[in-house]
């Protein structure tokens, strides 16, 4: 399929100019179908016509808000390149607290459609903040019953830390353009990560609701109320280190996809 696409692209490039060349028509009485017709195996067209295409999708959300009297800004973006079954996914998210970059990560994943509505994903994650760390990622992403967007990933750090992240969201249509999106995301650690003030167990929860207005599907400003807080042992460690455990923030942002 990939081959066919490339050939199609090549044909497209090659055919740049108009020529007056005439192709001789096949004879008016074509030969009846013979064995050779049978020998031709399934041919996707081989010429970039009726062949699989490679698609791209990118979704970017960025917002600005106030948390406990401080300015915060965050981004959350993801996208893919590929076909129906095989895709390359990329994801990045991060947060600035005031001028300080507090958290930043990037993931690169191979994604394969395994169930009707779900992909299995495997790849790498790199954190730049709060410290440099790399992880191997494995998980699933897709659409659960009741149209719940669902992600579940396990991260195995090269330094031995292991965590699981679950993420769900849902679209509630007030109108066909004004959409409320409740969301929840949580990290569960199987190990302690003292450098990050993380104790095993649930370490953080982010939940809230985003209200967006889709001027078009691809352009939607939004406002969001997000409650983000460290949990349990991680919260105690953070407090001990003199850090915030988090709280409620109001944000305004923009969601675009292309």
């Amino acid at each position: 399929m990939r081959r066919a696409t490339m050939m199609g692209a090549a044909a497209l490039l090659a055919g740049g100019q108009v020529s007056a060349q005439q192709v001789e028509a096949p004879s008016g009485q074509p030969a009846p179908q013979e064995n050779r017709e049978m020998e031709r195996e399934v041919d996707m067209g081989g010429m970039g016509i009726h062949a699989d295409r490679t698609y791209t999708y990118s979704l970017i959300q960025a917002d600005y808000g106030r948390l406990e009297g401080k300015d915060i800004a965050s981004w959350d973006a993801e996208g893919w390149v590929g076909g129906d079954r095989h895709k390359f996914w990329w994801k990045t998210e991060g947060e600035l607290n005031g001028p300080r970059l507090e958290q930043a990560e990037v993931q690169a994943l191979y994604s394969r459609n395994i169930w009707t509505y779900f992909d299995a994903q495997i790849g790498l994650r790199t954190d730049f903040k709060p410290d440099n760390r790399a992880y191997v990622v494995a998980g699933i992403q897709g659409l659960a019953p009741y149209f719940i967007e669902t992600e579940l990933h396990a991260f195995v750090g090269l330094e031995g830390d292991v965590s699981i992240r679950a993420k769900q969201s849902f679209d509630l249509l007030l109108t066909n353009r004004f959409i409320l999106q409740p969301l929840v995301e949580t990290d569960f650690y199987l190990t302690d990560v003292p450098e990050r003030q993380i104790a095993s167990g649930f370490s953080v929860i982010e939940t809230g609701v985003q209200a967006r207005y889709e001027f078009s599907r691809k352009f939607a400003p939004y406002a969001a109320l997000i409650y983000e807080r460290r949990l349990g042992g991680s919260a105690r460690l953070a407090r001990a280190a003199g850090e915030d455990v988090g709280g409620l923030s109001a944000r305004a942002g923009l969601r675009v996809w292309f």
Binding site: G28, I49, H50
Partner: protein
């Protein structure tokens, strides 16, 4: 604008000494054209126009058509519905046809062996969407069957300002990209007010569990409909004078839109479908699937401005043309129709597996199995029955007997109508105590009591068996039976369809004049899609409409196909398989309302709903070949084509496989086969076979089954056709919704004298039913 380069040349007799020849030159190019007044959009033109010129030929001529590609990409023109050698068919990748490279000219040559209304269109990427299409008309050599004073070709199509490749990308990114009619929170409250919270929430839960959207009527939006290239704003006009007999050759040349065609106040007599003559059927309106053609005759008694109003099923796009003697006359838009919303019950068997919930792992090694809708999972009813590759169609028929009765019972239990309204035919099927030979199990027609059909000349069991579980006794009375006095058709066909306003609809429908007599005086049959003249007491605001786009397999009443000799054992096995996989549990699904009811927000339930009581509407069941079929043999095997997909990811498949993922379907030259389309999706799919007509098993007598080349299969429905494989070649079998085809909904259908490359005989079940496993 480019000069019109169309040349028509008439040569003398060719060396062959038989065919006259007519030659056209077609030039394909991209340009900006003013389709909508006041703006220029990127389109593809054929000889500078959109649509392309009407190509007119006479039966028996040799057509020579030189197609020059002046675009920077490859293209291909396909001659839709024509009988021709495979390498002239114009589908790239088939029969060695490579497509037409940029700057090249390809000369198509073929002899015309048929008459009627056809069309041509790009069969290459998404080029068809933006203008690469036109009508293809073949006049009979002798006297025409229908003498007319005037004729118009009416090409219905869509215009979009978007790049069609972008449309496909948008759908892949978000399958609901163009649907701005989804059910909202206010709709939830409105439904709860009307139906109660319990039922409303049960309904929402059921759809949510399936991850399906009942408002998904059309995939693509932002269309402007065109009549011969003109939107409403350009005031399309078709000349018509009182006293004339006028033929309108309708072609649905759109990429994605089923359309409802109405000529208010000017009844139409359908005389041909997909190019083939049919016995006349009088209608006020018809639903035309993508790529279908219909010829109708209109005979205006008085001068006036008659509207030709065409709208898409989601009611988002429409076009009004005026039929009048003067170009300045302007007809008024007839009453609006409500937007449909799908009913859970329409999903038929497809919802069965859904009830089991949860994603199911793909079969090992069947990489793409995961793409299929859940309905196809775990045992995929029909496929499972055939996965051993043997030809069940020819094996014994005793085994599934009891299961079949169960199915009927359960199906009947699911019918929303009270028992006294139930189709008697179904009850006959249900109440068998002892096994009987199937030939006697046909369903007596409703309203005919215990009539013995065998005494009625020319009426086979198949004919009287009625498809469609929604037919109730009160509803169904075919005009021809009425004429025989077997039943009373109350129908009456008002001269005009009542105006229906969105809010006060319940009252508006009562406006249909009651009690007029059926129009049988001239012997012309009346369209039967709507069988009720007036709203009965306790009836829904809108009648159930049976367009004949397949039968509900779970209603268990598709006896039409079963009455024939080569009966589809496979489908019966499929049904038994279904109950094993608890498919029937789906029957317990909450039905929020009946077909024809309105939801809390004024939408009408049912894919086919919307036409008012008393409207004379064409059903595919009404189509009866004007000439007897030459081939009435029983099929030697059945090829089941499961029409499936994953709407959320916009992946569309046949038998679970995208084009190229499964081996082709192979049919031996000269064989007669039944192809049964099982629609497991919630969209209607116009299924098209190149190179040959098929006979639609629509309940008409076997020798009068209508020829078609496109058959629409409604959501959750099953429809079978008979193919006489007398055209050798590699033929595309595909859904004619452009973006479905481009997303994989196509299969290669090979007709050849040799079965397999290695000389072994074909193993019918192997490719036919389930390539994915």
């Amino acid at each position: 604008m480019v000069l019109r380069t169309m040349l028509i040349a008439l040569f003398g007799l060719l060396a062959s000494g038989v065919a006259e020849a007519r030659t056209y030159d077609l030039v394909i190019e991209r340009q900006r054209l003013e389709v909508e007044p006041g703006r220029r959009d990127n389109v593809i033109t054929v000889n500078g126009s959109l649509p392309g010129p009407v190509l007119r030929f006479t039966e028996g001529e040799r057509a020579t058509i030189r197609v020059t590609n002046r675009m920077k990409e490859r293209t291909a023109i396909h001659w839709h519905g024509l009988l021709l050698p495979g390498d002239q068919d114009g589908a790239p990748g088939f029969n060695g046809f490579p497509g037409i490279d940029p700057g090249q000219t390809f000369t198509y040559t073929f002899d015309l062996r048929q008459t009627g209304t056809y069309w041509y269109h790009a069969h290459s990427a998404t080029q068809e969407q933006i203008g690469e299409y036109g009508a293809f008309v073949i006049e009979p050599r002798g006297a025409p069957a229908q003498r007319v004073d005037r004729e118009h070709v009416v090409v219905l199509s869509e215009h979009t300002r978007e790049d069609p490749e972008r449309i496909l990308r948008n759908l892949k990114g978000d399958a609901g990209y163009y649907n701005f009619s989804r059910r909202t929170l206010p709709d939830l409250f409105a439904d709860a007010r009307k139906f109660g919270w319990k039922r409303t929430l049960a309904d929402r839960r059921a759809w949510g569990r399936m991850r399906m959207d009942p408002t998904d009527i059309a995939d693509v939006g932002n269309y402007t409909l065109l009549v011969n290239g003109k939107p409403t704003a350009a005031k399309p006009w078709l000349e018509l004078r009182a006293g004339e007999r006028v033929r309108l050759r309708f072609v649905n040349g759109s990429a994605m839109s089923f359309m409802d065609v109405r000529t208010s106040g000017l009844p139409m007599t359908v005389v041909a479908a997909d190019g083939r003559a049919v016995e006349p059927v009088l209608v006020d309106e018809f639903r035309i699937g993508v790529a279908e053609t219909y010829d109708v005759i209109v005979e205006p008694k008085e001068d006036g401005a008659y509207p030709l109003y065409v709208e898409t099923l989601d009611r988002k796009a429409s076009v009004l043309a005026t039929l009048a003697s003067s170009p300045t006359a302007r007809a008024a838009v007839p009453g609006a129709r409500p937007r449909p919303v799908l009913l859970m019950s329409e999903m038929g068997h497809a919802m069965g597996d859904m009830a089991m919930g949860g994603p199911t792992p793909a079969a090992p090694g069947g990489a793409h199995a995961g793409h299929r809708m859940s309905a196809a999972m775990n045992g995929a009813p029909i496929a499972a029955a055939r996965s051993d590759g043997t030809d069940h169609a020819r094996t014994g028929s005793a085994a599934p007997r009891d299961t079949m009765t169960d199915q009927l019972n359960q199906a009947a239990a699911r019918q929303p109508q009270p028992m006294e309204e139930m189709d008697h035919g179904a009850m006959t099927g249900m109440n068998h105590d002892a096994p009987q030979p199937r030939s006697t199990r046909s369903t007596p027609n409703v309203g005919e009591g215990g009539m013995d059909h065998s005494t009625m000349p020319g009426m086979s069991d198949a004919q009287t068996a009625r498809v469609g579980g929604s037919d109730s006794a009160a509803q169904f009375c075919a005009p021809e039976h009425a004429a025989m006095g077997h039943c009373e058709r109350q129908a009456a066909a008002p001269a005009d369809t009542p105006m229906i306003g969105m809010p006060g609809m319940d009252h508006a429908t009562d406006a249909a004049p009651p009690g007029a007599q059926p129009t049988t005086s001239t012997g012309v049959r009346i369209g039967t899609a709507v069988s009720q003249a007036v709203r009965p007491a306790g009836g829904t605001p809108f009648p159930t409409v049976n367009y004949g786009f397949g039968a509900d397999p779970m209603a268990g009443m598709d006896m039409a196909g079963m009455g024939h000799g080569g009966m589809s054992h496979a489908s019966m096995q499929g049904m038994s398989g279904m109950s094993e996989t608890s498919g029937m549990s789906g029957m317990g699904m909450p039905a929020l309302a009946r077909e024809g009811d309105l939801d809390g927000s004024g939408r009408v339930f049912g894919w086919s709903s919307g036409a008012p009581y008393g409207a004379r509407v064409l059903s595919v069941r009404d189509l009866r070949a004007a000439e007897p079929q030459r081939d009435t043999r029983a099929p030697v095997r059945e090829i089941v084509v499961k029409v499936s997909g994953n709407m959320e990811r916009y992946i569309w498949t046949l038998n679970g496989a995208k084009f190229g993922e499964a081996p082709p379907i192979r049919v031996k030259y000269g064989d007669r086969v039944r192809v049964t389309f099982v629609n497991e999706t919630m969209m209607a799919h116009p299924m098209h076979l190149h190179g040959m007509f098929f006979q639609v098993e629509n309940g008409q007598p076997i020798d009068r089954l209508p020829d078609k080349n496109v058959i629409a299969v409604a959501p959750g429905r099953t429809q079978s056709v008979l193919v006489t494989a007398d055209e050798a070649g590699e033929w595309p079998l595909h859904c004619h919704l452009l973006y479905h085809m481009e997303s994989g909904m196509m299969q290669k259908f090979i007709v050849a004298t040799v079965d397999n490359p290695d000389g072994t005989p074909a193993a019918p079940g192997a490719h036919a039913s389930h390539g994915a496993h």
